[in-house]
Amino acid sequence: MIPQLDGLLLVDKPPGRTSHDIVDFVRRRFNQRKVGHCGTLDPIATGLLMLVVGRATRVQDLLMAEDKEYEGTLKLGETTDTQDAAGKILESRPVPPLDQVAIEAAFQKFSGEFDQIPPMVSAIKKDGVPLYKLAREGKTIDRPPRRVRVDKFEILEISLPTIRFRIHCTKGFYVRTYCHDLGILLGCGGHMSALTRTRSGNFELSKAVRWPDLESAEGADYLARHLISLPEISRIRRT
């Protein structure tokens, strides 16, 4: 019989795969029945993906509810249908010269508590149907705005048309939409061209297993060695 393990696995997600791909991989490779993730990372995004295994699935909701930290790249001048680099360009506009003051002011506008309208291409459901399915059929429906919070932002690098930033935000925050909205505010449109999740609650990307290691790993031993145990999860969550 294959041992069914319990715990939390921190994975550094590679680009080009869905969060569910990673869940599925772990489930099959290590023969684990119960595996889930604590918050989707879009296919183009990289960084911290937290997988709950076995009995740890019981704390999935608790872990999902924690604040997140991201490093992202905003590319100005191009508006896309998915609000990220994976989508079709809907509109291109020249990027006006923008100084640091103007850029900071735009970021400042989207800090603290504000409302965000989730993107049409998202896993949010309307009457049981995920919005992205409706979007594929070319439909757009009204989405109720969600109250979100950005606790902190830092502009890391400005090399127009791109701006690299770091933010601390609440759960359920769409960084893609944040980039889209910043683009509108700056007058030329924009999309998210890269995203890395660096932290979720007290769990940090620096502690995550690298994808090439995980992909070449065999046997439940490997998984057992890298799982954060249930009592340890509780400890890390609280301190």
């Binding site: 704390v59 909701d61 608790l62 601390h168 009592p231 509780s234 609280r238 301190t239």
Partner: protein, 310 residues
């Protein structure tokens, strides 16, 4: 104090006459009554405590896992100070959760062949699906001429002292009440690790504590004292929080010990919390923070030891 993590037979177990069973989070006055006995109390040199390394809920219902008042190192430290002869901290895993009560009792018989008394808290349950209870224990005890000590709960202000009640007090910042039920000042035990050296640059070096104690009072600055490994006591200005002035996020416990400059890194220290001084807040710059710390330290030293606790 001796330590073990199994119920295998050992010469130390053979010398044990009194055994207390329980998770004992907080080791509060109710737990102390169970462990020490009463009229007369049990001699600690022949007493053992059998507990779990992890709270059983961490396995059974991780979503309900409480914030622990005393992590395992803290518990071991207190039991050691109380001169308890042996502490066994069993891992709680699927095998343990599926064990029939009778099988657990067989293990006890083997580990402690010469028991005279066994103490458990009110309503103590054990074994698979919590099917073992005090009735079953008392049958097992009477067959072996072991006296079962199942004391009434210890009360504080007319109500039963419990770990969950103490957690509520701590989290509400009611440290006087928590300390009264613990029978000692509310304390965090931890290992001093290297911080970011920020306190040093402000002129107030701090000891950063890595702790396994999970139940913490509200963020803020507290007056208290540090107890060093050699037993020396030093006044301590304790900061609990995220250091918002520097945009920190992770919750930290750090203490500044005025007029003390010996290195503490790598040492295990106790931080007793005596008085709440002020909430944590964000200062416009490092200088205004340093000025506030100076005031905090003066306030701390104006009456270093809280008369309530001493």
């Amino acid at each position: 104090m001796n330590r073990a993590d199994t119920l295998a037979f050992s010469p130390i177990g053979k010398a044990i006459r009194h055994l207390a069973l329980g998770f004992f989070d907080g080791l509060h006055l109710g737990h102390q009554r169970i462990i020490f006995g009463a009229n007369p109390s049990y001699p600690p040199e022949t007493t053992a405590v059998l507990t779990f390394r992890d709270h059983p809920l961490s396995f059974l219902h991780p979503e309900k896992h409480p914030a622990l008042i005393t992590g395992l190192p803290h518990k071991l430290r207190l039991l050691g100070r109380w001169r308890i002869s042996l502490t066994i901290a069993l891992p709680f895993d699927s095998t343990r959760s599926q064990q029939e009560p009778a099988a657990f009792l067989d293990e006890l018989t083997q580990a402690f062949p010469n028991l005279q008394s066994l103490s458990v808290g009110p309503n103590w349950r054990f074994g698979k699906n919590r099917t073992g209870d005090v009735t079953l224990l008392s049958q097992w005890c009477s067959k072996r001429s072991i006296s079962l000590d199942n004391p009434e709960p210890v009360l504080y202000e007319g109500e039963r002292i419990s770990s969950s009640r103490i957690r509520t007090s701590i989290q509400a910042g009611n440290l006087t009440e928590a300390s009264a039920m613990l029978g000692r000042p509310f304390t965090i035990l931890g290992l001093v690790e290297s911080g970011e050296g920020r306190g040093q640059s402000l002129g107030f070096p701090t000891a950063n504590l890595a702790t396994q104690d999970e139940c913490l009072p509200p963020d803020g600055v507290y007056a208290g004292q540090a107890i060093l490994p050699d037993g020396r006591q030093r006044p301590a200005a304790i900061n609990l929080g995220t250091c918002p002035t520097f945009g920190g996020k992770k919750r930290k416990v750090e203490a500044h010990l005025p007029n003390f400059s010996e290195p503490l890194r790598g040492q295990e220290i106790d931080l007793e919390f005596h008085r709440f001084l002020r909430p944590e807040k964000k200062f416009p710059d490092a200088r205004s923070l340093a000025e506030q710390i100076q005031l905090d330290v003066a306030e701390l030293l104006s009456h270093p030891v809280n008369p309530i606790h001493r």
